[in-house]
């Protein structure tokens, strides 16, 4: 990279950041419109009233909080609150501050995501490489079937199958079984001090082996569920880019120099073929951080995805607004990071 390029990237990033702000406003406006613009269970004043109030009292509360104003004015009020760090109260969590609820749940989602992404990479990338090297052989077909089955699988169904086999049947057969729900066993719930909020990390930090092992046992099934449905994409991308790279002149050159096949593949081909795979992994990471609603729900994993479904059912618009904004922020910024990384990884790309 030369100096001129750096300036261009700088400009590009600034432009993208500006677009990011626009996108976040868009997301919040849409969710706000849906959640507050219609008479529905999402009625935002629900948390301020009780059954004992008279209609006139309820009306007074609605007026006092500005819920009788036109929607765009309500949105303006909401924006002001948000810029002061006030995300309101979550009626799913019986009126706890929304931000607190989110902050206590988010570490669980992070833990699940990290483990799931590691599993995806560890299984998906070798599968893709194998598929490319043994192109159009039985190994390729098998890996293609695994990949395609992965992304044809209903996540909720596979989650129950995993529970059925590894929790229930393993128990029936007298094998050591894996827990089917939650992030930590009930008895151990407060065995270690909460530092990061992630059971696995907290257990390691406290040096409590039982706790860590228990946390790990809990995360295996949901993480595998997530990785199984996404590793197919990764394997297919790795295969495609590997095949592409193997056709390049410099690979033919390396081979004709008499380099061993191992060196050609691992030193020359793999490095370039990994660029799209890294991108995709980054996007998976961002997508999963947004909370895997289905997986978290089936495994009762106490992350933000689980709460968001509860919030939808309970009309908790404050949580949904915070949740969709944070996840949108994660998705958009990871897109930006990936795009900028590309420039560093692949010098052929210019902005």
């Amino acid at each position: 990279m030369v100096a001129g390029d750096t300036v261009k990237i700088y400009e590009y990033v600034i432009r993208r950041l500006a677009l990011m702000i626009f996108v976040l406003f868009g997301v919040s406006a849409i969710v706000f419109y849906l959640a507050r613009g219609f008479p529905s269970a999402f009625a935002p004043w629900a948390q301020y009233i009780t059954f004992r109030m008279k209609p006139s009292q309820i009306q007074a509360i609605i007026v006092a909080h500005g819920f009788d104003q036109p929607l765009y004015i309500q949105y303006w009020y909401w924006l002001q609150d948000v810029f002061h760090g006030d995300w309101g109260f979550s009626n799913w969590a019986n009126g706890l501050p929304t931000f607190e609820v989110f902050a206590s749940r988010f570490p669980f989602t992070v833990e699940l995501t990290v483990v799931a992404v590691i599993m995806t990479v560890v299984i998906g990338i070798p599968l893709g490489i194998l598929s490319a090297l043994k192109n159009n052989t039985a190994a390729d077909h098998v890996s293609r079937i695994i990949a395609l089955t992965g992304y044809s699988t209903p996540a909720y169904w596979f989650a129950y199958i995993l529970q059925l086999v590894f929790f229930y049947y393993f128990y029936v057969w007298g094998l050591p079984n894996l827990p089917s729900s939650g992030a930590i066993s009930q008895g151990l719930a407060s065995a270690v001090p909460t530092v990061t909020g992630m059971p696995l990390v907290d257990g390691i930090l406290a040096g409590n082996l039982t706790y860590t092992a228990d946390a790990f046992a809990h995360v295996i099934l949901p993480a595998f569920n997530l990785s199984f449905i996404s590793l197919g994409y990764l394997a297919r991308i790795v295969r495609a880019s590997m095949l592409e790279v193997l056709r390049q002149d410099y690979i033919i050159m390396a081979r004709s120099k008499g380099l061993s096949e191992r060196v050609v593949i691992y030193r020359h081909a793999l490095r370039n073929a990994m660029i799209p795979a890294m991108t995709l992994t980054g996007l998976f990471f961002a997508g999963l951080l947004g909370g895997a609603i289905i997986t978290e729900t089936v495994f009762s994993w106490p992350g933000v995805g689980y709460v968001s479904l509860r919030a939808v059912f309970q009309g908790d618009s404050n949580f949904l607004l915070l949740y969709s904004l944070v996840t949108a922020l994660i998705i958009v910024s990871s897109n930006l990071v990936v795009d900028v990384m590309y420039v560093f990884l692949d010098p052929r790309i210019k902005y």
Binding site: F22, G26, V27, Y151, G287, T327
Partner: protein, 313 residues
């Protein structure tokens, strides 16, 4: 006179080339056993969907006491939990569902609905997305920028949330759920078509068409879109499976209009509380979804390889 002859000649040779191309694609498809398997399965399910009500009479299948009468002796039978569910066996190949209906029959009856919804969603998303994407790419400028930014917003939404909120707001009907899934699905086609049209737009034949004064709408509709249709077709095939998964997931998560509705995700959701006591309730409907989605994905994945000339060798 001579001009028309030349024109028909080129037309004919063009058609011939197209047919040869198609034949070659079919040949490649035959070479690939997986794609062929997928294709056979897709045809099987589509035909099954068409004749489902002939294979299984809905009137017969919905009779509740029919199943219950067989289950009195079942060990799993208990009034507190699953009143009418009996396990897979001689009377019912796949067992009965929570209402005592033959699960095998219910699965067959639910395939038409799932396929129909998937086709409808993909078709609408395609038409809408292709139109918007093509116009955006052709017109360019501010309009293009605006469309791009709107798709940006929709891409930034976390997974299902938009669909969930929409479904929760506007009630649990098939139409609402269809629109909810559509909301999540259309931006992909806009982006895809836009990219294709931007490339095609710069080709010399478009220049030629412009210079002889062909109507821009005609150029886009009859020349550019047909030339960039392959990736769109591949995307459509791959999306059928994805839409079935998403739609059934919405049903499964509790947005079903009625627990008795024969829909695969809805059938599976019957088994939520009974996974360990009556696993077949969830296993078989889910497996059916998996096989249908896999069939479409096999075809789509194969089509992608076949239609991409670089991967042919």
């Amino acid at each position: 006179m001579t001009e028309t002859v030349v024109q028909t000649d080129t037309r004919q040779s063009e058609t011939k080339a197209r047919i040869a191309e198609l034949k070659y694609a079919l040949y490649l498809m035959r070479q690939n056993p997986l794609v062929l398997t997928g294709l056979v399965l897709v045809i099987f399910f589509v035909v099954l969907a068409a004749v489902a009500t002939l294979v299984v009479s809905p009137d017969e299948a919905f009779k509740l006491e029919f199943g219950q009468s067989y289950c009195w002796s079942s060990s799993i039978f208990s009034w507190t939990q699953l009143e009418a569910t009996c396990p897979p066996g001689t009377n019912f190949i796949l067992g009965t569902d929570g209402f005592g209906r033959d699960l095998f029959n219910m699965i067959i009856l639910s395939i038409p609905l799932d396929l129909e919804i998937a086709f409808v969603i993909v078709a609408i998303a395609t038409v809408f997305g292709v139109a918007l994407g093509a116009v955006a790419a052709w017109v360019g400028g501010k309009f293009d920028e605006a469309i791009l930014r709107i798709t940006d917003i929709f891409f930034a939404f976390p997974g299902l949330v938009l669909a969930l909120v929409f479904a929760a707001l506007f009630g649990r009907t098939i139409q609402t759920l269809t629109i909810a899934v559509l909301l999540v699905w259309w931006p992909t086609y806009v982006r895809l078509t836009r990219g294709q049209v931007l490339v095609e737009k710069e080709r010399t034949y478009v220049e030629a068409l412009k210079s002889i004064g062909v109507n821009p709408a005609r150029i886009v509709l009859f020349h550019i879109i047909p030339n960039s249709i392959y990736p769109i077709v591949v995307q459509m095939t791959l999306d059928i499976g994805g839409v079935i998964l998403t739609f059934s997931a919405l049903m499964f998560l509790g947005f079903s209009p009625s627990p008795a509705l024969p829909e695969l995700g809805n059938l599976a959701s019957d088994g939520i509380g009974h996974v360990f006591t009556a696993p077949w309730l969830i296993v078989f409907p889910g497996l059916t979804i998996l096989i249908i989605a896999l069939a479409f994905n096999l075809v789509g994945d194969g089509l992608r390889d076949i239609l991409d000339p670089r991967l042919r060798r």
